[in-house]
Symmetry: C2
Subunit: 495 residues, 2 copies
Amino acid sequence: MRPGLKVYNSLSKEKEIFEPLNAPYVGMYVCGPTVYSNVHLGNVRTFMSFDVIYRYLKHLDFKVRYVRNITDVGHLQGDEDDGEDKISKRAKLENLEPMEIVQKYTNDFHDVMAMFNILPPDIEPSATGHIIEQIEMTRTLLEKGLAYEVDGSVYFDVEAYNKTNHYGKLSGRKLEDLISNTRELDGQDEKRNPVDFALWKKATKGHLMRWPSPWGDGFPGWHLECSVMSTKYLGANFDIHGGGMDLKFPHHECEIAQNHGATDEEGAKYWLHTNMLTVNGQKMSKSLGNSFLPSELIAGSHELLDKPYSPMTVRFFMLQSHYSSTLDFSNEALTAAQKGYTKLANGLKLIGELSYTEDGAEKNEKAIKQIEQICNNCYFAMNDDFNTALTIGHLFNLLKKINSIHTGNLKYSEIGEEVFDKMISTFKTFTVNVLGLVEEERINSKSVLNILTDLYKEAKDAKDYDKVDEIRAKLKDLGLVLKDMKTKVDWAYEE
Amino acid sequence: MRPGLKVYNSLSKEKEIFEPLNAPYVGMYVCGPTVYSNVHLGNVRTFMSFDVIYRYLKHLDFKVRYVRNITDVGHLQGDEDDGEDKISKRAKLENLEPMEIVQKYTNDFHDVMAMFNILPPDIEPSATGHIIEQIEMTRTLLEKGLAYEVDGSVYFDVEAYNKTNHYGKLSGRKLEDLISNTRELDGQDEKRNPVDFALWKKATKGHLMRWPSPWGDGFPGWHLECSVMSTKYLGANFDIHGGGMDLKFPHHECEIAQNHGATDEEGAKYWLHTNMLTVNGQKMSKSLGNSFLPSELIAGSHELLDKPYSPMTVRFFMLQSHYSSTLDFSNEALTAAQKGYTKLANGLKLIGELSYTEDGAEKNEKAIKQIEQICNNCYFAMNDDFNTALTIGHLFNLLKKINSIHTGNLKYSEIGEEVFDKMISTFKTFTVNVLGLVEEERINSKSVLNILTDLYKEAKDAKDYDKVDEIRAKLKDLGLVLKDMKTKVDWAYEE
């Protein structure tokens, strides 16, 4: 199926056939979180989208090296801001050292990723772990005349770069327009040009996160870490670079300029961008008060939420739209997703219980053809720029056939063992391995046990001692004992 | 309770009253894992021991900053070894890039820590994230005449240091003995003295993990990272330094020399060391074939294991001995621990169900005194160098009282609401918060559901339709539906 994969490349603005530079190896870099606060849902969507892309590429037998960074250097709001960076601000607010903030929110990030069954990347490098490499790339850009130093800070010289390159080619911007749009905003900037950006910033007195460098104590600019880490772990040319659409400009544009400027190579071949979240049709944002955290969604604890939604419901919900479309949160849509996910979960439970049995029925060529077509359709959908929404539709069609087998409307022998196996394995592979939708623990075992102790007590009251003994014995097999108290029946773990 | 805490200090070889340098703040540094293979059980014990220490200090209201590092720079077996480091070796073996090895085993490490309910530290810095700081400390030691450079490598000069200090004071060694024991083993070493150790090693051609430095491309020596990271995050003087006993020499001895050499300060005030594991009385080691991984212990998949042991059983088992004693694994001891943990788990379940009810019984001063004594004993035990074994004994005594309340042998009013609350909260706090023993999910909910569907089918066969309706309705309340198939009864999630 491999040759059929197409991806929409933000750089060419076209859907292209995916041809890795060095198949079967695939290098993929995705901009990770800045760890100064809890990860937000937009990030979750981005990382979930690339999780499915990662999973599908691996399913197609590519050897993927997936790098997703942790931005743990505090960055200023803009190069002009001489104040505190976000991580230091948060550190003062929470009365912690910056690296405690980093640890706290990195842990939170990992917990949230695990909750949504998002696989860890192969390498998760941090910005603070690559200060030397960032200093080295800055030095290279200085040597090549693409950067300049002013009073302990180093800036990328966009005009110099643009002489022989196109700064803005990803986001479709022209340097002239950028300059005319920004020049008047800026007065006493030490940059030669307002579009220039920091590679290295001098640390003012009291700035907490700082390292020695050839230009004095300072810290790297935000854009630089991704250029450095993608190059270090994937090479100067690699296959896929991903991130949220809001990073296209300036972040990814600056990355391209840095990579190409420093290495004379092209950097990433395919640029993939995920789209934004909306809530009831409005942009999700803190200032509008319609922004909830992943934890609030799961707990149902935000005023806009009618009830809690489980992680797999949310995962199903997010995969129901294409990663490049906006995704609108509403209680109606989430409730529908809950139903949809439950159907798949019942399917997963069911396929664990079905096993092929010859029943002598005649071959049903039409059913066989339908099943094979649906299995192929799953690949066609995923091959079309990872169309998870369409894939889910095909999985529902496959589930109908599986249910027919279960209810006996379709006999095992009508489709034969080979087609049966293919149907089951396609359903399982696409649901679990590719889409990452697993059967969630949804049964509160203590509640089920309470039903059993009720039935036990009723049997006892009715003097049905056979039933009493039966329940007691079956629970004992599970390592549980019933305790007859004066007014009630308790259970406990067998000691 | 705070003033009563005593800790055994490996440096003074005495049990000392714990007096933090800057109370209520406590800085604690523990040497973390080298991530080139799965974490072994000895490490788990060390990190679990310091987890309890961390938890207890926090319970005593100290503001603890707990730093535990990740050793992700590959190190050579010895300074003399010019070959590959362990991480690079493993990378070649597994056909991965060194940082993929680091990521893989860091993830495994975190998973194992979470499985045993070991809290993450406040800062988990990595060696590769502090190369600049390691270069800086090396430079300082050179400037102070405590190190020398030879052909791109820098070594710590132990004899120079020992002129005004005692190298070996932690492990009780004398430099003369160390020198006379090692000199003959060594011939063409570039070190001036065989006891000297590397601060920075020149990277030979083909060495994968390397960074530029004032002495050329290389990588830091193993001992250096801990000195650098403890100083960076806890200061030149801090309270507690912990690790396994096998790290006392040379690792911790070298750390002391580096810290004191570079800063002229004392470094850690209290040194705490955890003891080793044995299996059926023999030292646990790969070569003896008696070394099993945490995952093998949980799965019961090693030939020395009769059955699987749950994470909380293992945690209980480990906390049943003092951290400074050896700990012997045997099926008998683990089975006993399983029983012990189950008792505590039943206690945790029980206290969630009890609530104080005035029953008019007369005050029982003896029982009150006993309960208060047991509650105090928990503190006395933990204050005595974190004696978890003794604490568990006291918790069992407390549990007897709780069970008496449950069975009615002791009436609520005999002890009164205040003492009841104290008893419950002490049991809960010490079991869950201090020892980290939580109620484990041990019930397979699907197995319990199978019992219910059996009872349902039996009721149907017996035409007991009231019972049939009752079971159906109660399961529906839990979001589950029963499906009457031709030959059996299935359940599914309600869609």
